[in-house]
Symmetry: C2
Subunit: 458 residues, 2 copies
Amino acid sequence: MSDIAQYVHRHRSRFIDELSQFLRIPSISTDPEHRRDVLQCAGYVAGALRRLGMQRVEVFSTPGHPLVYGEWLEAPERPTALVYGHYDVQPADPLVLWDTPPFEPSVRDGQLYARGAADDKGQVFMHWKAIEALWQLHGRLPLNLKFIFEGEEEIGSRHFDPFLASHANLLAADVAIVSDTAMFARGYPSICYGLRGLAYFQVTVFGPSHDLHSGSFGGGIANPALVLAQLLASLKDEHNRIAIAGFYDDVVLPTAEERRQIASLPFAEEAAARELGVPALSGEEGYCFLEQVWLRPSVDVNGIWGGFTGPGSKTIIPSQATAKVSLRLVPNQDPNRIADRFEQHLQAACPQGARLQIERMEAARAVVVPRDNAFVRAAARAVAQGFGKEPVFIRSGGTIGAAASISARLGIPIVMFGIGLPDAQTHAPNEHLDLDNLFRGIVSVAHMWEELATIGKA
Amino acid sequence: MSDIAQYVHRHRSRFIDELSQFLRIPSISTDPEHRRDVLQCAGYVAGALRRLGMQRVEVFSTPGHPLVYGEWLEAPERPTALVYGHYDVQPADPLVLWDTPPFEPSVRDGQLYARGAADDKGQVFMHWKAIEALWQLHGRLPLNLKFIFEGEEEIGSRHFDPFLASHANLLAADVAIVSDTAMFARGYPSICYGLRGLAYFQVTVFGPSHDLHSGSFGGGIANPALVLAQLLASLKDEHNRIAIAGFYDDVVLPTAEERRQIASLPFAEEAAARELGVPALSGEEGYCFLEQVWLRPSVDVNGIWGGFTGPGSKTIIPSQATAKVSLRLVPNQDPNRIADRFEQHLQAACPQGARLQIERMEAARAVVVPRDNAFVRAAARAVAQGFGKEPVFIRSGGTIGAAASISARLGIPIVMFGIGLPDAQTHAPNEHLDLDNLFRGIVSVAHMWEELATIGKA
């Protein structure tokens, strides 16, 4: 057992107590009633960074919730790592479904239950304790560190990108570490090397100025809800490919090597379908499930509404109908060009008898880091030390806006290392963190600083 | 001026007072709080029939609101006419949009404003006053009469068809008169000779057992809202024809003569589009608007919902999505066979990765009465006398469940004669009835009894 592992083992019950303090602050970013809690949590994060010996700690206010920055830059010959995480959490409702209260952390069967335990306070805390161990054991840090912790990740990271744009020098680094992804499965320490991008829209079809009687007018005017259905259906072809002209032009195809590596991961499609409650998985022809959600772009209708939605029947032609539509993007799709194509496609498909309005909401590029990048390989060595097992390389179908911003604005590789399990119930009742993974994660990160320090500065 | 026209002219202010009494009863059938008002209104109708000299008047209770029946059968050599109308009304909200209170009738510019003025109390009242005029002027009625007035027309006539099935002898007649349709336009007295039928469904697509993260699963499982859109879109082809196999098999095509007659009616499509607030009318290729809504079947999405419908963005795959879908039918489409085809079509189109549930709600056959039917021609002569102008023959795109039941159960021709204008604001604030049309309608109906009496019994 390494000295770091021994240190973590010795202090584990104090670590649980300290993380529990952090978890008790209900920093729900979406809820205006918790605004003060979010602010208090930012202060807590700043205090933790100061106690860790950061030389400079600053709370940057934004039009929303603050960003907390900390730095230690006393290793001039060594590279600089930028650590990203977020201290805000999802709402906890429905409260009745929690076995123990969401903001009163509780340990059962080696799991720490609390809102934010996995997403993302536990993973932020993992970084703090790795620093503590290094100070205590070695009396120094092996490389320069910058921390940036966000309070708006759960509400779209709206102020992160502008902050990055105006503070590029402050955050300049050689490599970034983002701990906001999950492990592939229990017992599979994971390095995530790719995220999908996002383009999110609200699409409204307008018909008559008010609801009409479907007897008097049915068949004589365009029905906005049916037109909306036609437009949405036109986005996909019979092979489950996206039918927007030029949509795949810039898509980077997976290499045979990458497909082989993904195929080697243990994933049982039938069992997954059973667990999700669907008759079968279903996606683009020619790709397996993991390829579909990791490597291939997709389209989803996130919500739809219009007309009469009460019990019984009402015979109307609704005056309008609306859908929320999201596209997940992969390298090298540009969200703005894709949004242009999306709009052109729908406008061209909209019949004369209706009007179409498309609102662009969120947009983020996909992020992929080459698996043979020196920092990524160094991080993998560290994870192997922390977990006693080689990590698997995975991608995520999700989008982390901050990672996309870091990649685009700072142009540095990102190591994505997370310790939450896929069934950690993030965003759901009974969120929990496996404590064994937390302790191995702390050890991994401490080794990671040492491993990354061996890579030359950019 | 005929003696009947003179009688109506002489008594018109009393008629307005009496109709206003009827209109003051807020017989809103859909609202449980108005249940006693509906009951009181049924009693009012029964009292009116007794005062008109009906020999037998009966209030039949149903599991919902009562039916009121009245008969006068003292003309043994003459045919029997069955008169249908309804005494229930639509809700009056939003109240703030009424210029005068909905249940305090008020005359302005020759229009009587009140909820139910046109739909349908004014048209029921028209029949009563025609009887009164005939008694007063001639001391007798020219034919046998049966009245059946319903209290559930505005909530789907659920108990009318079962009542008809169990009281076919009671309601047996040679011809039915239904006054619940509108005039083609101001100055165009109208006989309606056709109604469309209806098949109404609720369609739900089920996917995963709970909402899923669209990043982690998007592209790998079927999205219920998108599948629903695909299913709805599959119901129509690019010519705006319904794409269900066999859907048109039993459709009776319009004759050249009927198309010529419809083309002769004054209808400005561009002006109609402007008035409705749509960029253009839009319907099945090869037919004009009036043909589309009168003669051709149609499909409409009456409502649709699923997933996230709040402000902002939420990246989920909804676990389910639902739509209300109605088909308007024409002769000789059978609603049950059409419903079978509809279900088969959607089930066949539903992808493996989702489950589909279809609930059948309402169903009614189309009704068409040959324009050369002797009763219809007799009625047209009467309307010409009442309005001093030949009536136009029109159809309606709507469905009157009671008319479909009468046609199917009793197998008799139906004369549909209504005096409401298309802009009478039925079902909307400021509903009103043109009093001139009411008075001409009373005269028309009195003449109608005389004209119908000349036709032999079946």
